[in-house]
Amino acid sequence: MKARLPSWLMNPESLLIGLGMAFWLIMGKLDHSFLQWEVQQELSTHIWETALMALPMTLIILTGGIDLSIGSIMSLSAVTAGLLHQAGWPMPMGCLAAMVVGMACGWFNGWFITRFKVHPLMITLASMAAFRGIAEGVSQARPLSGFPESFTRMGNDVWLGLPIAGWIFAGSLAMAAWIMHAHRLGRCIHAIGYNEQAARFSGLRVDRMLLGLYTLSGLSAAMAAILFMARRNTAKADIGAGVELGVITAVVMGGVSIFGGRGTLAGVCLGLFLIHETREFVSWHWSRDELNLLALGVLLILSVVFQQLLGHKRAS
């Protein structure tokens, strides 16, 4: 209570920045080759899809919901695009169809959630199995590859120092930031997360907004699927398995309250960054995948505990 830290030091974002700095220092001491720009640039390709899906996930968690089905939506969209490509559709049309399918899946989630008032966790737990199952069924679990080079180039090209996927993420981030900070939707999302009932009583169209957010989440999963296909030149029913855990981990690590309301996009970006750097560095330096699992788990718990302790100090 005596020497109180300034308020800008007492929030999750600052804590994450601090952690990030500590990491960079450790990395620099242990293995400076890791910090080279080319290395970072190339390794960044591993995070863009997760990052892209983390944006709508942030908004959804801010409203107090969750979407576990994004990995499965990814696979269904990818399989759609792959099958249509095989059927002779031009790639852009295939991608468009994939996005439509992704949005349809998200809309389906949102519709059930708003229509039946079932907890999003339950609905998306079920649709997670259903969507992947459908993807497996329609593709008969076959890999679909051989996409045109003009398409795969999208996954590998670098423009102004950033991979194409990075630019897509940056664009989406700018849009999400605009929504959250400058548009009235941002206020509404926070309001719904803090107190859905009061938001309804204030005349906010909560159901419509939730429907929109889950659809957006589906769309982002479809876009992630397209980026994946371009990068790895293949579409299959098993892509995106387990990706939802990575996305949710990044979001909660970024200081977004799992109960809704509290959280910022800046925090989520830092969370994504921290997770990405940790994961890449551990396998870069120690080359032991099991340590990676250990490090990520411990990092998540520690960062949340720290956030909690800081938050506690602030409250009392």
Binding site: S127, G133, E290, G297, I301, V304, V305, H312
Partner: protein, 331 residues
Amino acid sequence: MNPSGSKPNVQQAWLSLLRSRTAGLACFTTLILVWMSLWNPTFLAWSNMRDIAVAAAPVCIISCGLMLVLVLGEIDISVGSMMGVLAAAMGAMASASRWHLPPGVAMVGTLILGVCIGAINGWLVAYLKVPSIMVTLGMLTALRGVTEVIMGGQWITDLPPELRYLGTGSWLEIPICLWVTATVVLISLWLIHRSTLGRRIYAIGSHPKAARLAGLPIARTQCLVFAWTGFLTAVATLVSVPQLSVVDSGIGVGMELLVVTCVVVGGTAVSGGIGNLTGVLLGALLMTMISTVLIFMKLGENATYWSKAIQGLFILGAILLEPWTRSRKKP
């Protein structure tokens, strides 16, 4: 108080039971059993029923614990990885080529380890006030890493016969694991209906703020319930892993999702306060039965690829069962 009202009350209770999710699940299960017995009478054979029960046993055991966690308004998604660690630890303790401890010590050690991991989860949740989904999400990842470290790239292929007996032996023609499951269910029934602790768990999950004003020991209860879940996970590990001769490093992968699905399908509210053990057990039975049903339906090869979709729609149906009837009742 209301002597004339006792009869309608009974009637009302029956009606609400019929409308409840548990009844829906029971109907659903019966329907499947009848339908499958028409399709292929061997489905109802004792051996098949026994095998389904044995497969459902670990899920039931863990669900008994996880249900209480959900009733408390928390969640534990680390049970899958916990099972992996416990299996690895049990194997390493008992294996002749590793620590070579007596089987009894290995058993007790596994149980203690389970309680410890659960208690760590509980401690972080109860005393450091970290949301349980984050704690257990972290544990889910970290414990999987620990499993790999313990295994060290080698599987355990020499479980001692005493441990194998837990998984494969039977008493009075009924497999040991079913006896254990029955015991766990009985203890859980007592815990829920006849113990002070059970009332506390429901009360805290129902309204945490009121629980604080009523002076209930919230943190202690939370810690206890997580430790209990850890203990039950260890029990499930002890009776299910020795059914197989090889302890591999992938044991329990995806278990957390299966168990959460069962508990939720069984009518436990994600927001706490509501949970019915019968429903949860039915849910667990139903979820483990699906794969057997799909095999007995002898679908063609193409349809094999649709089995996951069928499972998914099945879960969706089971979850929507009750809200659907609820929303239909409204004008």
